[in-house]
Each structure stands twice: as structure tokens, then as C-alpha cells.
Amino acid sequence: MTRDREFMTGGPQGLDDAALDDVVRRAAPRAPETLLPQVLAAVAASERARRRRRWRVGVGGVAGALAVAAVVLLVLRTRSTFGPGLSPAPAGAEAGPWRLAAAAGDVIVPGGGVGDPLPAAAALTVAAGGSARLERGGEAFVLARGLAVLRTEGATLTLLGGTARLGGDGIDVTTAPARIHTMGRDADVELTLQGRSDMDHRFLVAKKGVVAGAALGTALLAIHVYRGQAVVERRPGAPPLTLAAGDGALMGASGPPLVVRAPVAAPQAVAAVTPRKEGAREALQAMRPTGARPLPPSGAARPTAATEGEEGPPPLNAELDGALDKEVVRAGIQKIIPQIKTCYESALEKAPQLNGRLLVKFKIRAQDGKGVVGEGEIQPDSDAALLAEPETGQCILDALAVAEFPAPEDGGEVTVSYPFVLMATPPPLGRSRSREP
């Protein structure tokens, strides 16, 4: 019989090659269907773990320094040397040379006194206990407390140490850990840069031993945003960080920043970097000036303001009539999302369940080479709950009024209908703070 021959041709010693090949072919294992999804899931988990490790390495390197530095700053900073926040810059103020508007205590300004314009590049030194207020057009900054040295070059300042408080839109400050850019006409941002020379060596060595060594070699920058917002640009390649009013950040010369968000949170599109340990959050709190409102609870719900269809500043789902690209309008709107969140949060205090879609129609017209919002209104086809809160709508219109766009290409007017979706979302389960890779 055929089947007998097939299996018996090899005799007792074995099969022939053809029979063996046939068995080998049929015995070839096939990967189970579960393998592919398991591999893809494992790869995804590995990627997440890799990002977490990168974050931990960065945080681990500066965590000790930050903890020690926070203690030092807590000791040094017994009171805020600043009074109330800087006055909002007047609209349309002309930018000119920096001037020393006021000085108290020991202020060294080579070649100038109060009221005099500063040279293009000026180094200022403010001794402990002194302060100096400098103004340029609608922008201002105050140097105070400890040694602070700045060089003024146009609207760009270099902070080598000490404390500066910035007011007005578009002030660029370069520090060792980062470059900070103020945004919003009434921006009010405080920077405190602690370098090696600012540290109390004896205190550190005596109290913290070896750990102090790390702190001494690290320039530590604290940022507090009182009004407006600040964009923090770190090393090349690192994504910028946007801080909104009430936010604080602590940054070392290396590693990612530690950020504590106020309830008026920054837009989700700019990922929040928040401390993983409560100690870092307390360190930030300790660095806040006297009188500053406390940081929000870590598990607080974060309001979101988004254009329709997505979280954060999404692709523009808006009607646009005129010579301005939609993406350009979207980018302009994105910059004021923090202010719009502020509006929404204020509304939530009165109506905790408030949410919905708000359609805003506004016009952009050319003025002084820029596109400014001339007039705007809330559209009646918005959600009724939001229409019942006219203050919220007005707040958003006010935020739009400071938005900046390029001038319409034809020099004319552009009409935009823009939907904002406002909703309060709880923090993700299992972790109360988001984290940046």
C-alpha cells in the first residue's frame, strides 16, 4: 500500500530525505496569533518605561540639589523685597532705551543715574537690601535682593544672579538654565537665579554634608508668574514650557524643570512638568514670595479650554472670512488659552458644573503692522449655560483683545468664528499630575 511504502522506505534505520522533509515541513511551528499583539504591547510599554527612566535620571540628578537649595532659599528669603506687582504696561507704549526709573540702597549703574537712559549694554549691580526699577516703553523690571547683574541689549536681558521681576510683553531674559520670554501686556513674572556665589557654603556643608556639593555647582532658577504668562525655552531640542498666571517652576542647569500649576493652568498642549514628589512642590512653595497665594492642591481638577473637537489648542475648526491663514489664527488663539482658562475657572467658582461650547465671533484688523482684534461678540448659538454667564463671555472677549496675530495679508479685516469648548476634567486616575517625558 502506498502509505506503507511511504513510511517504510527508510527501513528500521530511518526515513528517506523526501519523507523526512515532509515531516519537517509539517512540523514547522507557526507563531501564535497572540504573539503580534503581545510584541506591540511590550514595545509600547518599553517606550513608556524608557521615557520614565529618562525623566527619573534627570530628576534624580537635580532632586538633591533642589531639596538643599529650597532649604537655603527658605532661610535666605524671609520676606519678599517686592511690593505689589508691576503696573500693567500701557497699551501702545513706545519702546525706547532702558531707563533707571528708581533706585534704593546700593545700586551701581555705570555711567548713569535715575532717569537717565542706560547704554545698550549695561551691567547693573544691586547690593543686598537694595532695589532698582528699570523701564523701557511699557516694559519694566526690578532688580532686588542680593547680587544681581544684568546686561541690557535691546529687549534682551541676561540675568547672571539675583532676582528680577519683569513686567510687560516681550522681555527676553537669558539665564544659565533657560531663556524666559514674557507674554501678555500685563505680564508680571519673577525670576530668582541662585548661583554658586549665592549659597551659604558654611550652612550647606554643616547641615547637608555631601549633598551640599551638588547644590553648590548648580545654578537654580525659580520662576513665578503673577500675571500673563511666560514661555521657558530650555536647552536646544527641549520643548518649550508655558507657564500661566499662578504657576511656578524650579529649574536646575540640567534636567527637566519642576513645575507646580496653579488652578489657572497652562494649556495642555504644552505638557505640564510637575514634581513627582511632594517635597519638590513644597520647595516651590517655600520659594514663593511672602503674600503669594498658596499653590493649588495636587489633586485639583484642571479646567480645560479647547477649541471644538479636541483637547488643547487643536486644528482650527472655525469659520474664517478674510486674508489670514487658519493656522495663523489658531496659533494666535493658542497663546491666550491660559487666559481663557482663567476666565473659565472664575466661572466655575460660581457654577461648578458649568461647561459647554462657546462660539465667539471676532474681527482681526491691521494696525501698526500687526493684526489686532477690533471687536468681538459671543454668538447666540453657544450653549445656553454659558450664555447665562455673560461675565465669562466678556472675560474671553477681553482675552481675545490682547491676542496677537499677523496683519491680514491684504491689509483689510478678517472675520473669525471660533468655537471654544470649556470643560473641567479631573486629573488622570492613579497620578495626580502630568509629567513631561
Binding site: 507557526r30 503580534l36 514595545v43
Partner: protein, 196 residues
């Protein structure tokens, strides 16, 4: 054996998730077969998964213009993982049950299917009894379709050694299956005679 298109490989190296999925689909059977031969079915899936994880992490370092093919490179990773697993844990000798049964049943009558499945299972048992280096060469050649030169590169031995290991493996399997087939054939003959 099919290789991944160069464009897909390039996308893989750029971190394209869809391209990596295509890579896994292209090589999963070959990797899994090698892992079965070297570590048994119980650990094969785990080792294959680990192999592709390593591939994902190292794909950027693979040189498309280098001497190794992508398939050979991936199987080298799998081979080393299986070797490490064998060193850290005593390799279990597995009795395969039902391997190839569906294929055999679809093409043969019940008696042949039973005997074919039995031979497939017997091959896995006999394979598991071979030395590791013979199992590796056998799987890389017979199931993964690698050329002798590629196997030599994976194993790090001369081509002549590959040939001799493969010959010894085939001879051992032939003998083991022949004895089983002979016994089974006699049983079948007896059954036929009784039926007649």
C-alpha cells in the same frame, strides 16, 4: 523566505510603528520556530516577544548595507536570547502533542493523519533531544530558510561546521522517526491484514 522591503525597514529605523508591525509580521514565524527548537513551546512565545523587543530597541543600529540580512540579524538576536535562557535554566525536554495535526487531518485519511501527527510530534521530541547547536542549525536551515553562510554568521562557526551539524541532526531525526514509522507501519499492516 521573504525579506522586509527596504522602504519599510527605513521607516522602521525612523520609529514608524506601522513599519515595525510589518517587521514583526514578516519574521514572527521564523523567530518563533527557532525559539521552539531551542527552548520548547512553553518558552518560545516569551522569547520571541523578547527578541522583537530587542529588535525594536536596536533597529537603528542595524546596517542595511552590512553583510548581514535583516532576517539573519533578527535570528541572531533570538539565538542569543535562547542560548542565555538555556544557560540560566535547564532546558526542558518537551513532548509535543498535536503539532501539525490540523494540516495532516486536512490532507490524509484518519489513519494517515494520526500517523502523520504522530511523526510530527515524534520529530519535536527527537529534536528536543539533540544538542543545542544541532537544533539551532536545523531550525535555521529547515524552518527559517537561511543559507549556509547566513547560518554560519549566526552561529559564529565555519560553513563546514554548519553542514556537518545539519547532517548529524538530520541523521538523528531520520533514525528516530524511522524507528517510529517502522513500528507504526507494522501496526498498520497488521491492521490491514486483520481487516482483510
Amino acid at each position: 523566505m521573504a525579506e522586509l522591503p527596504a522602504s519599510t525597514l527605513a521607516a522602521c529605523r525612523r520609529g514608524d510603528a506601522h513599519a515595525f508591525r510589518a517587521l514583526v509580521e514578516c519574521y514572527q514565524d521564523r523567530v518563533y520556530a527557532l525559539c521552539v527548537a531551542l527552548a520548547g513551546r512553553a518558552d518560545a512565545e516569551d522569547l520571541a516577544q523578547e527578541t522583537f523587543l530587542r529588535v525594536h530597541q536596536a533597529i537603528g543600529r542595524f546596517a542595511p548595507d552590512g553583510p548581514a540580512t535583516l532576517g539573519g540579524w533578527i535570528l541572531t538576536i533570538a539565538r542569543r536570547l535562547c542560548h542565555d535562557r538555556a544557560r540560566s535554566a535547564r532546558l526542558r525536554v518537551e513532548v509535543a502533542v498535536g503539532a501539525g495535526l490540523e494540516t495532516a487531518a486536512a490532507t490524509r485519511n484518519p489513519e494517515e493523519a494520526a500517523q502523520g501527527a504522530s511523526l510530527v510530534a515524534a520529530l519535536h521530541v527527537a529534536l528536543a533531544a539533540l544538542p543545542e547547536e544541532q537544533r539551532a542549525v536545523f531550525a535555521l536551515r529547515e524552518w527559517d530558510g537561511l543559507e549556509y553562510e547566513e547560518i554560519a554568521a549566526v552561529e559564529g562557526v565555519p560553513v563546514g561546521t554548519v553542514r556537518s551539524r545539519l547532517a548529524r541532526a538530520r541523521e538523528a531525526l531520520r533514525t528516530a522517526l524511522g524507528e517510529r514509522a517502522g513500528g507504526a507501519a507494522k501496526d498498520l499492516s497488521l491492521t490491514t491484514e486483520r481487516g482483510a
